[in-house]
Symmetry: C2
Subunit: 346 residues, 2 copies
């Protein structure tokens, strides 16, 4: 299997190195041959080539079986007047690879509940996957700028909504059969189209699925007050960005949450949902679990290696059970380094 | 003082009646003459006149010293294909009265912490005000719709950003002197304009204010993990909508949170941040505190009656201290009715 690794910026190199070590170990144990190909993206790519997504990177990613990404961005490149920003590399690769469905599972691990700001009794049994639309909406609409005004266009087509709703429903069939579609249909035209389309797709193609609609503002509340009620949550790009960072607090730390970005084929892009954490970059203390768990999703969704994926997930779970916590999980206690956490998983 | 009362839909009539009773009592005690003028808005207005904001309502609101609003909307009017929706009445009155700054204070009351999903130790000392831009952004940009596509335009001008940032900074001067500006400057052009403008306004006009910038996705997390860090939070319309519903969970219930919508003059519109709760409408069990506290904000910001405002706030506080909880605050315990809660405040 050819796996393209895009370390990116900040803690990206440290956490992708940890995940690659784990993939090597799983490959050795299960007799799988993984070949890793490192390429540049984000600020590191801007420094080396002037572009946030060099052609060589995109080309390699499009030919690979899967892509594992660290994170992009940092203060070094965050001047809003710079000609190109690291984040553009990430948006461009998602778009170019057609990765319209971003799966973000949120299932708090019992050992990490102490790190969550939420009361533990609300978290027992929480197990949801947010399916965030990833290649449309206000992220990709036309932008304008004058000296005194700016604009961003949010656009959605029926086809864009249908395919991501279908993906959410298909996923819900393997789970508890419930889909919560989140929009702002009392204000936005794109949300009204979203709601109508979701309703029709489920009625016509997934009559076995229970569909409910929630307004995004209510959802921001209900995610906290009754998180157990959610199974699969499907929403547009920007709402998904906000709600998944919020939902990460259910799991105790952003440092535990992996993601899979999928398109029509099997190839996908896998990345932790956290950012490049420039403040702790290079210090060897970043939490590698989200990236390691992203590697597990990579095995499952792009390589079809379910057993190997479980093997990684069980190992992370065992490390958490054993109290192997990086600083984000054990802020007052004894935190381990990135290497020690990785060693525990290995 | 002329106060226009817009009960609206669902629980709106019950909760505005409670707040009017309290204003009457404060007026009697402090020898103030409040005259109340009831008008239609939202679904109730659609039923009576076909319009969500009848001209008579807007006219009365524009001539009044202040407006007290309940809530609008409900399933009866929520067919997306209906020619007019109740929410349009609310958006239209905000826009027509030029109420660009929506103040949403979040300061958890010790007696209500039990109802919050957040761990109590994180909530001690939380005291923030979100200043939500209310007449711009994607709420008011051009919308398009075809059979297969929809769009919403998000627009901001420098002048729109300047005035709301100034309002936030002026408010911060009466508090702890810190302003957190929330945007998505790594993706949106409107957010880049927002960030630049906020930075310049503070540097030029409020050098005594500490300004920090947060991305909206991080903010959705930090609101939960370190809520004490925030003093005044300023953000655009849609982000403010989502983040304040989320922040309401810090206070235990949406039913405790008032809001003030202000423009250039003294007149303003005051409403609870919760909705019309059609599921419990007419049952006499709605929480009236958020509307009563909105009446206190009305006294403070539009009528300049600080002592009377405090009098109401102290009474609500005493009712909460005495454990007078409606069902949203005491889901397992002994919940009181809207009337009983109001009587406790009176
Ligand atoms: C870095 C940024 C552009 C990105 C996004 O908003 O999609 C990130 O927040 C994420 O959620 O993957
Ligand atoms: C009813 C709706 C249009 C409104 C909004 O989104 O502004 C409400 O959610 C609010 O926060 O006041």
């Amino acid at each position: 299997f050819d796996i393209v690794v895009l370390p990116g910026d900040g803690i990206g190199p440290e956490i992708t190195a940890a995940a690659v070590d784990v993939l090597h170990a799983v490959g050795a144990r299960h007799d799988r041959d993984f070949r890793f190909h490192r390429h540049l993206i984000g600020g590191a790519a801007i420094d080396a080539t002037g572009e946030a997504l060099p052609a060589a990177t995109l080309d390699a990613a499009q030919r690979a079986d899967a892509v594992l990404l660290g994170a992009v961005g940092g203060p070094k490149w965050s001047d809003p007047k710079a000609p190109v920003q690291p984040e553009q590399g990430l948006l461009a690769i998602r778009k170019a690879m057609g990765l319209y469905a971003n799966l973000r599972p949120v299932a708090p691990h019992p050992a990490a509940l102490g790190a969550s700001p939420i009361k533990p009794h609300l978290l027992n049994g929480v197990d949801m996957i947010v399916v965030r639309e990833l290649t449309g909406g206000v992220y990709f609409g036309e932008k304008t700028r004058t000296a005194t005004t700016a604009s961003d266009l949010c656009e959605y087509s029926v086809a864009e909504i249908e395919r991501v709703v279908r993906r959410a429903c298909t996923l819900a069939r393997t789970r508890r059969g419930k889909v919560t579609s989140v929009d702002k249909a009392n204000v936005l035209e794109t949300s009204r189209l979203w709601r109508e389309t979701a309703t029709r797709v489920v009625a016509d193609e997934f009559p076995d699925i229970t569909l409910e609609h929630q307004l995004v503002d209510s959802m921001a509340m209900h995610l906290l007050s009754r998180p157990r009620d959610y199974d699969v949550v499907v929403t547009e790009n920007m709402f998904g960005d906000i709600l998944t960072d919020e939902a990460s607090m259910l799991a105790g730390s952003l440092g535990l949450l992996p993601s899979a970005s999928l398109g029509e084929g099997r190839a996908g892009l896998y990345e932790p949902i956290h950012g490049s954490a420039p403040d702790i970059a290079g210090r060897g203390i970043a939490n590698p679990y989200a990236t390691i768990l992203s590697a597990a999703l990579l095995l499952r969704h792009s390589l079809g290696l379910e057993q190997e994926a479980r093997c990684i997930e069980d190992a992370v779970s065992a490390a958490l059970d054993a109290g192997v916590f990086t600083a984000d999980l054990a802020p007052q206690g004894q935190a381990v380094s990135t290497r020690e956490a990785t060693a525990a998983v290995l």
